[in-house]
Symmetry: C2
Subunit: 139 residues, 2 copies
């Protein structure tokens, strides 16, 4: 496994930092977080292999993480919940620089994830789809 | 493909509703959304097979969707962005009842996804990890 010496999530992988884990596969760890939970049962999932952002994760780790989260959501009998990968880049709120996914139950209106405001007006989406298509032919 | 007659995303699959698609695999469609984009390049990805929530999606569709999103994020040279599956249950804000994933670039502080407030205090995480572990042995 690729690990980073001072990364909090890599410390969990090494067993230096203890968490209340619910999933531990060859690729993915999931745990009930005690750090700023947004709702009871708020879990965090991450690849054992160190990766800063989603686009640094390998496809095998990416392919496993959502089926694992589905199993935990099913185990909790969750019907309403949000899943967020909030932390790709400091500007997007990243504070832990090891990619991870939150499963946040929404038991009531008051708990869980809440939206901030309405979408901004005047976003220009013209042309960007064409740019993506052109780049996808290259990459 | 399983489809739902009046589902907006199934209408895209059938070609009845046109979108500016950037990805169209056997399983997954991704498009640049013109409906309330939160930032330029805001894309929506969804399984062709109708599923209401993440926990209704099959593991194969779940396994493919994040690697596909990674390719689009790479095509856009995105460094900062949020990925959210916001729509699992009406209480969690679901308005389109076909599971989908948002890729929301954050080009500046002002655009993209913004957090609403701080995590609530006093969330009790005690015991729920044990409950999940017990259920995972059963399910």
């Amino acid at each position: 496994m690729v690990e980073a010496a001072h990364c909090m999530l890599c410390r969990i992988v090494r067993g230096v930092l203890r968490v209340d884990s619910v999933v531990n596969t060859a690729r993915i760890i999931g745990f009930v977080t005690q750090h700023e939970p947004y709702a009871r049962g708020h879990c965090v999932f991450f690849p054992k292999r160190h990766a800063i952002s989603l686009h640094d994760m390998n496809d095998e780790d990416l392919a496993e993480i959502l089926p694992v989260i589905k199993r935990v959501a099913t185990a909790l009998d969750l019907k309403t919940y949000n899943i967020i990968l909030p932390n790709n880049g400091a500007l997007a709120g990243q504070t832990v620089f090891h990619a991870h996914v939150h499963l946040i139950p929404k038991w009531t209106e008051a708990d869980g994830l809440r939206r901030a405001g309405e979408p901004p007006a005047g976003i220009d989406q013209t042309g960007i789809a064409q740019r993506i298509r052109e780049r996808l032919r290259i990459i």
